[in-house]
């Protein structure tokens, strides 16, 4: 198993013919991902790395049975793209695009719930399962090793660093999912934890959190009540001052909420093992067994 993506994952890329689209279709194919279609209005009939391009997601789904969409379209067209994918029957969406207005994200996250679909992101690097040869997103392929640690993270590069250090120690990953750095995201730590708890391939979970919001506090409470697998965590932003957006739109201490202190305290209370430095996660997991 794995979470959110597996060997049945068939990817359509929305925004396929742009620079980013072309590059990452190639990278995903190299990873072994079944990229079956691309969508760019007006470019029906073209191909990118042999992948056929369609005008609409509906046509792509009808022709290729795509079930997962990678959304790479610019922020101001993203809501439309997500709605289009959902109405076309896509059940898993990975939204890479950043700078999507929050109100747009709120609308499509709830519309996805109505459709019973999973949205990962927005403003996320995507998801990769090395064992299932399924990568939907822009994560660097080389850092992954097949294994039993599930990783869920609000950040990108920091996660690559952590995954890389796990891999260097021979600690492989079941699935690594980047949840996104925005305040409004479709899949939360709780959703990822529930999926990892169910996933027979995952033996331990690593959460990479940061300041802003209460996602980590919510997760801590959820872990206490529902999660039996060991959880490790790193929280970025211990030194961030209130009121400043630390690079991510979601990484901000606002109105007294979202401090690293509060998150660390909540995790400690829930028995989660915390690392002081990113690469220390590998030490903790190794020590655990």
């Amino acid at each position: 198993m794995s979470i959110f993506v597996d060997t049945n994952t068939k990817v359509v890329v929305q925004g396929a013919t742009g620079h980013q689209g072309q590059f990452h279709i190639g990278e995903m194919l190299n990873f072994g991902t079944k990229v079956v279609a691309g969508v760019t209005p007006g470019k029906q009939g073209e191909e990118v790395h042999g992948v056929p391009i369609f005008n609409t997601v509906q046509e792509a789904v009808m022709e290729t049975d795509a079930n997962t969409s990678l959304v790479l379209v610019p922020a101001r067209f993203s809501k439309d793209a997500v709605f289009e994918a959902l109405d076309a029957g896509i059940t898993t969406l990975v939204v890479i695009t950043e700078n999507i207005p929050f109100h747009d994200a709120m609308e499509f996250v709830h519309y996805a719930m109505y459709k019973g679909a999973v949205v990962i992101g927005p403003n996320c690097p995507g998801i990769a399962s090395p064992g299932k040869k399924a990568k939907v997103g822009i994560l660097p392929s080389g850092i992954f090793v097949k294994g039993h640690v599930g990783v869920a993270s609000r950040s990108g590069t920091l996660t690559y660093e952590i995954v890389n250090s796990l891999s260097e120690r021979g600690i492989g990953q079941s699935t690594c999912v980047g949840l996104g750095g925005d305040p409004i995201i479709g899949t939360t730590f709780i959703d990822a934890l529930n999926a990892f708890e169910q996933d027979t391939e995952t033996k331990a979970v690593v959460l990479v959190g940061e300041i802003g919001g209460t996602a980590e506090e919510d997760a801590a409470e959820h872990i206490t009540q529902h999660i039996r697998k060991p959880v490790f965590a790193f929280i970025a932003g211990r030194t961030a001052p209130p009121g400043k957006r630390m690079g991510h739109a979601g990484a901000i201490i606002a109105r007294g909420k979202g401090t690293a202190k509060s998150k660390i305290k909540a995790f400690e209370k829930a028995g989660v093992k915390l690392a002081s430095f990113p690469t220390e996660i590998a030490d903790l997991v190794e020590k655990y067994g």
């Binding site: 850092i143 609000r154 590069t157 996660t159 995201i185 932003g237 030194t239 690079g247």
Partner: protein
């Protein structure tokens, strides 16, 4: 983007929410539109101006001139006062609190009201703050308003006057893509009018393109932060003296945290993000130099952003303009070895681990 109080109140007016009669004073000698008595309110993008003396009552023109001179001298929360809002004084019968924010956990707008207006909402007891969540698929409905007003123990007549304000404020919140709109206090005046005495409006930066009537001002940013924003670089000035450059917000934050662990203090947060463009790296490094840190710590994990691209950008700036502070680098990932060679040639110190780099930077900065 946080709007000044007077700008927020202009939006309130547009949506039919009553505000006190007022005029904006653009410079110290600008007295022509004043009326008396009036309340003089410093326009700054931070809270706490009342305690700092930024709100004063003036009964006469004489007093007003004197007080304005004082207020225009003030720096509140680090921000020089550049505008003052002069308003009529409103006789207050009741003070309420009304706001819309984003509930990140539920992914919905959250309506909050309290009968305890006029004070910092964080200091109001939880059981005195009432909440309604507005599902974005349906927007605000009568039942939300009916439900929350029923809990405030108002007169029927007051409820009737406040209900439309709650509705209108939601419209403003939604239509202007706000992260926060807050009226604190929303007052019922002596003559039974409902008036917004204050206005706090934060518009989602990413949606500003939909609101060409709002000129991006970003009053809350420093000069360098504004310059960075224009160039599309994530750059934040902090209190310390070590400049941190990394790629990715999480990694940059983690680097700052590592400094703190070794008693260092970050002075700049500079996130290169996912760029692999040497020109952008160059711009970012120039910006970092302008911030005049005592030490620069460069922490890279190469993936989409290749290590050598960053190294090239940095070495270009150094070879052209020189550098008057030590630069410690820690490089990992895609094209790591090439990057290390480039940076060594440029005279940079390379460290083996983040811990090592952070320790050496902190020691050099000598905090």
């Amino acid at each position: 983007m946080k709007l000044f109080e007077y700008r927020g109140k202009q939006l309130f007016q547009k949506y039919g929410i009553s505000i006190p009669k007022g005029t904006v004073i653009e410079y110290e000698g600008d007295h022509s539109n004043l009326f008396f008595p009036c309340v003089l309110k410093a326009q700054v993008p931070v809270g706490g101006r009342g305690k700092a003396g930024g709100i004063q009552l003036a009964q006469t023109r004489e007093v007003a001139k004197e007080k304005l001179a004082g207020i225009f001298q003030m720096k509140i929360g680090g921000f020089q006062v550049k505008k003052v809002l002069a308003e009529e004084k409103i006789g207050v019968k009741k003070e309420l609190y009304l706001s819309y924010t984003l509930d990140r956990s539920r992914r919905m707008p959250l309506l909050m009201m309290s009968g305890k207006g006029g004070m910092d909402i964080e200091s109001v007891a939880d059981n005195l703050i009432f909440k309604e969540w507005i599902n974005p698929l349906i927007g605000i409905q009568r039942f939300h308003i009916r439900g929350i007003l029923a809990k405030l123990e108002l007169e029927k007549d007051e409820e009737k006057k406040i209900a439309p304000i709650v509705l209108k404020l939601y419209k403003l919140f939604r239509e202007y893509d706000c992260e926060l709109v807050e009226i604190n206090p929303l007052v019922i005046s002596g003559d039974e009018q409902v008036i917004a005495l204050d206005a706090k409006v934060i518009v989602n930066d990413d949606a500003l393109y939909r609101h060409p009537d709002l000129v991006a001002e970003h009053q809350e940013l420093t000069m360098l932060e504004k310059e960075a924003k224009e160039k599309g670089i994530a750059f934040i000035q902090l209190e310390g003296n070590i400049g941190v450059i990394a790629n990715g917000a999480g990694l940059t934050m983690a680097t700052l945290d590592a400094l703190t662990h070794y008693k260092g203090k970050g002075g700049v947060f500079l996130d290169l993000g996912g760029t692999d463009d040497p020109e952008k790296v160059k711009q970012a490094f120039e910006l970092m130099k302008k911030a005049k840190p005592k030490v620069i710590l460069l922490n890279l994990f190469g993936g989409i952003t290749k290590c050598d691209t960053v190294a090239k950008g940095v070495s270009t700036v150094i070879s052209k303009e020189g550098i008057d502070c030590p630069v410690i680098s820690r490089i990992k990932g895609c094209n790591e070895e090439i990057a290390k060679d480039i940076l060594k040639d440029a005279g940079l110190i390379t460290a083996g681990s983040l811990q090592d780099a952070a320790k050496r930077s902190s020691d050099l900065a000598g905090w």
